[in-house]
Symmetry: C2
Subunit: 209 residues, 2 copies
C-alpha cells in the first residue's frame, strides 16, 4: 500500500516536471515571478488526462471554468440546425476561459471536445477564488492575462471581418500552421468561415503559385 | 476667483450625478458594492467631453487604455490598402479596453474615432494600478468584468463565424438596433462583413416580408 502511494506521487511529480516550463513560460509573458511564487503555482496545478472524443463542456451546462492545454487539441463547436459548426481550436500553450457573458449566469451555448488525447489543467471558480484570496498577486496576473487574451480575441475578430476567406487561410498558415495536419478539413473550413469546397479550391490555387 | 472655482466644482458634480447611475448599473452586473465603495469609484471617475471626429487612438500608437462610454458613439476601424474598414462600434454603457495582445507591448493596429460628440471616462494603466493597490476589491471587479467581456467577445466571434450575412443583420436588429440610425450604412456593412450593396439588398428583402 505504502509502495503504491509513493509510486503514484513520484509519477505525478514527474508529469509536472515535464510540463512545468510550459506554464512558467506562459506566465512570464505577463509578470515576473519569484521562485517561491513559481513553486506555489506548480503545486496548485493538477493535471488531468482526457481521452480523445471527451466532452469537457456541453450546450446547456452552467459552468465557469478555465483550461490550460499542456498536450493535445480541443475543439469548440456550436450545434446549428442539427449541424456541428466549429468555431475554434485550442492547442498546446493555449488557454480556454469559459465565463458567463455580460456577467449573468447562463447555460453554455457551445461544446468543448477533445480532438486528441489531451493533458490539461482545469480550474474552477471556487478553487481560483481561494487561490486569489491567499495570493492577491495571482489575481493581478489573471487580470492581466485576461486583458491580453481579450486583446488577442478582438484582433482575431477584426481580422476575420476585414480579411477575405483566402487571406484568412494564408493568415492561418502563418500563425497556426500545425492545425493543418491535426484537424479535419471540414472543421478547419468552418473555423475559417467557409464551405469545405471553398477551402479545397483555395488550397489548390495557392499550391499552384 | 473663489466663485469661479466653486461654480466649476458644482458643474463637475452635476455632470457626475447625471452619469453616476450608468456606471453603477454596469458594475452591479459583476458585484455588490457598498455605499462607500460606490463613492470611491464615483470620485475617481473623470469625465471627458470629446468632439465628433476626434481620434482617441491611432494606428502605431503604444497605449493601454480603457474607456467607458457615457454618451455618444465610438468607431473602431483598420486601414487596409488605404481604405477604412470598420470593425466595431461602442455606444452608451459600452466599455473599450485597449491592451497589448499576447502580453507584448506593441503598436496599435487600429483607430478609435468618435462618430458623435461623446462623454467618456478614460482610464490608463498607471491610474488603474494605483486604484487597485489602494482598493484590491476593484481589481477583482476589473478581472470579473474583463472575463465577462471576453466571454461576450468570444460569443460575438462565434456568431460571426456561424451566421450568414443576413443572419448577422437580423441579429443586429435584435441586439443593437440603435446602430441603424446612428452610423453610416457603408460602415455598418463593413462591421457586418459585407459590401454596402449586399446590406442594401438584405434590407430590401427583409422589408418586403
Amino acid at each position: 500500500m505504502k509502495e503504491k502511494k509513493s509510486a503514484s506521487t513520484k509519477n505525478e511529480a514527474s508529469v509536472k516536471d515535464q510540463y512545468a516550463q510550459m506554464i512558467l513560460d506562459y506566465l512570464a509573458r505577463f509578470t515576473k515571478l519569484t521562485k517561491e511564487e513559481e513553486e506555489i503555482i506548480l503545486n496548485n496545478i493538477h493535471l488531468k488526462e482526457v481521452k480523445k472524443g471527451t466532452h469537457l463542456l456541453k450546450e446547456g451546462q452552467f459552468a465557469e471554468l478555465s483550461f490550460f492545454v499542456f498536450k493535445g487539441c480541443i475543439r469548440q463547436y456550436y450545434l446549428k440546425d442539427g449541424e456541428e459548426r466549429t468555431t475554434n481550436f485550442f492547442l498546446e500553450g493555449d488557454t480556454i476561459s469559459v465565463s458567463f457573458p455580460s456577467g449573468n449566469p447562463s447555460p453554455s451555448k457551445f461544446y468543448l471536445q477533445s480532438l486528441e488525447d489531451c493533458v490539461l489543467s482545469i480550474g474552477d471558480e471556487t478553487v481560483e477564488n481561494e487561490m486569489f484570496e491567499q495570493h492577491p498577486k495571482f489575481e493581478t496576473i489573471c487580470r492581466i492575462a485576461t486583458e491580453s487574451k481579450l486583446a488577442d480575441t478582438n484582433e482575431e475578430m477584426s481580422n476575420f471581418i476585414i480579411n477575405s476567406p483566402e487571406e484568412r487561410y494564408l493568415n492561418l498558415l502563418e500563425t497556426r500552421p500545425e492545425l493543418l495536419n491535426r484537424v479535419p478539413q471540414y472543421q478547419l473550413a468552418s473555423y475559417l468561415g467557409m464551405k469545405p469546397e471553398s477551402l479545397s479550391r483555395i488550397r489548390k490555387r495557392i499550391l499552384k503559385r
